[in-house]
Amino acid sequence: MSEPAIKQTLIALNSTEWLNLCARGSIRIVKRRAIAVPTNATTKDLDKVFVVAPFTKVSSAVDLFVLEVPNNWTKTASKHRSMPSEVSILNLADVVSHHPVSQAHFEHYKNKGLSCGVDLQEAKFEQAWLSWTMSETVKDALRSVELLQKSLGIKSLSEIKRPDRYKWEDLVRLALRPNDPIKPKPAHVETLISGIRKLADAVAGSTDSESFYLACAIEWVDLRLKKDPMKKKSTRELLNNTLGKLKDVPLAEPSSETIAALKHLSDSFPKAFTEEISALSIAHAVRFVTAARSKRLKPEIAIQMFNSIEKSSSTSVLLSFLLAVSLDVELTNQFIRASTKQDFAEMNWDLPN
């Protein structure tokens, strides 16, 4: 029989609770927030501590502390008289050690703690916290993608079986942290998500003209195939000719001239495109993601673009995925409300934390 693991009992508090505990010497707390985990707790073990912490938005600036209390605390703690079976009193004296979840929090609260006689300890749960917040953020993002796809009448992620090896969760991680590659052998979708900023940079001067569609597709061929699509004389002439004509045309829905040039590019470089990444979708992806990241997305334009795409296609699934992940869950909800009511003035980018 293996030795039972040595346990520690941990409670996660938000900064308001922790500051009150320091200032008043005690706070009321629901007993089940005290979680026993092994002393060599894994990230998964610590998830149980974080999941019962009192906050509603993982990405918000709510500061969190993990307190270690004696293992018998749930039995010995004083009960609150109105709900003795549920609510206990956590006294400052009960706490064995106080750990902020990040080093930044440590620096910020060190002096506040000292002024109340509390010596903050190292932020030893930081890695577990980061891992937990990332996994919760991914779950949130996928929920918002599903909501957006439902509202736009687009196939949902669960209905799409990816032909490559990627899971949608991996792609969310990549979209949120483009500098952390998710697989050693990049496929089209990975190149697109991690290369959006590069593409946006290359076509920066064309964002307000119709040449934007073609510019994005040209840069995409270069990025994906590492080939200069303008190298061949006939292609160069056709593309330059079209780019010249479209340079002063304001960006709107793609004209027949744009569509024809994009088709020429797709036919000339078939390996650069897939069912979900068409020549036209590159521009949409670049526009959506950069606009969402820089808080300049206009719902009416996004809706207009979705309407121009075949809704049952894989392209629309990927675009809605990228849009929802870039917007984050609250803004996706706003976007859905704005598009449902056709009241496009409603987007408010300044969200409460």
Binding site: R197, A204, T207, E346, N348
Partner: protein, 383 residues
């Protein structure tokens, strides 16, 4: 130039500040906040509300430069424009002395001698001032300004809307004394400032101009900021020669004096020269140049650091950050003042920030942590 933020898009703290000022028109107010936190936006909404209320009061608005005066005016409705007297600090002396309320922006740079003039205009002052952005040596001291508006209700803005976290880090790594209030939030995106090491001044100016033109778009102009008018001349001469402009470019009249009020169109000649050569470049400042030109075409504005005060641009270029250059052209400038000038210049960028130098880099570049800057590479194609 669309810069005004609609009332519905303001953050909660900005809204509270506006409501509080409107509800307390009998006392002084001081709107505070980091560069890009929306102080001017708050003041403009206050002006609009005061001028269009059922019982409009006599209001005057004053600010430092002609450009800022025009900018605020463009954010007001036609009715408000008619009802409010709008002026630079220099022009205040010509206005009446019986306003119910005076709203003043960029007050950290108001010269001491103009404080008594301002005080005569009204008993009530609503001001915005951030001493981290004070770049003129003639500016009043903190104590003088405190005395002029005391007692004032303070409104501390906490959300930085204009710049992203990367530019925030760069600006505060050079000007480490910048006051950052608790719970300050700043936008996070992937955008990172670029650094270009050129082989010569010609290479530097030409490359930065080409890039400024490439990334500019309608309503998203680029601005190239240089420390002195002598460098503006040098820049224009190089661009004119590289692009084979016809004729010799007129000088921007280097007198090494930042424009305060000044003549209405000091760069008329040079701008007319650039226009004749169908250049996208325009010299801006002291009443010259129009930001509204960028509404209809790609524009690259060239100006001194001082002329960029209070403004913002999609793309900001700070070339010529070489070791022998002082960012403050006036003699006897302090290190602290140079740092504030860099702080103000770098925080003008809404989207992209470019720094460049040739020969040895300026000490400020060396102080910026390497991971905050990415090396600039020219793009293969230009659309």
């Amino acid at each position: 130039m669309k810069w005004m933020v609609p009332i519905n898009d303001l953050d909660a703290v900005q809204m509270r500040a506006i409501e509080s000022i409107i509800d307390n028109q009998d006392r002084n107010h001081w709107v505070k906040g980091f560069a890009g936190s929306g102080k001017t936006v708050v003041l403009t909404h206050v002006l609009e509300r005061l001028a269009t209320s059922d019982q409009p009061i006599r209001v005057c608005f004053a600010t430092f430069t002609h450009a800022l005066k025009d900018l605020v005016e463009s954010g007001l409705s036609d009715i408000a424009k008619k009802r409010i007297d709008i002026s630079t600090f220099n022009g205040l002396k010509n206005l009446r002395n019986d306003y119910d309320l005076v709203v003043a922006d960029e007050m950290q740079d108001i010269p001491s001698r103009q404080l008594p003039i301002l005080a005569k205009k009204s008993d009530v002052l609503v001001i915005a001032a951030d001493f981290d952005q004070s770049i003129y040596r003639s500016a009043c001291s903190t104590a003088e300004l405190n005395a002029a508006v005391k007692p004032a209700k303070e409104h501390q803005l906490r959300e930085i809307h204009r710049i992203n976290d990367n530019i925030f880090e760069i600006a505060t790594s050079v000007y480490t004394d910048a006051y950052i209030v608790s719970q300050t939030t700043v936008r996070q995106d992937e955008e990172q400032a670029r650094i270009y090491t050129a082989v010569s001044a010609r290479d530097e100016f030409t490359t930065m101009y080409q890039e400024a033109l490439r990334v500019s778009a309608k309503e998203r102009p680029s601005a190239i900021l240089l420390p002195s008018k002598a460098l503006l001349d040098k820049f224009i001469a190089i661009i004119a020669s590289e692009n084979s402009y016809s004729g010799t470019p007129p000088s921007v009249k280097n007198d090494d004096r930042p424009e305060i009020g000044g003549p209405a169109d000091p760069f008329k000649e040079i701008n007319s020269y650039l226009k004749k050569n169908r250049s996208n470049l325009q010299v801006f400042g002291g009443g010259s140049g129009s930001l509204y030109d960028s509404d209809t075409k790609k524009m690259v504005y060239l100006m001194t650091y001082h002329s960029a005060k209070g403004l913002d641009f999609a793309n900001v270029f700070l070339p010529h950050l070489t070791s022998d250059v002082s960012l403050e052209p006036m003699k006897g400038s302090s290190d602290d003042q140079e740092r504030r000038i860099f702080f103000v210049a770098s925080t003008r960028a809404r989207e992209r920030l470019y720094l460049s130098y040739h020969d040895e880099p300026h000490r400020f570049i060396e102080e910026i942590p390497e991971e905050l800057l990415q090396t600039f590479h020219k793009q293969k194609r230009n659309y």
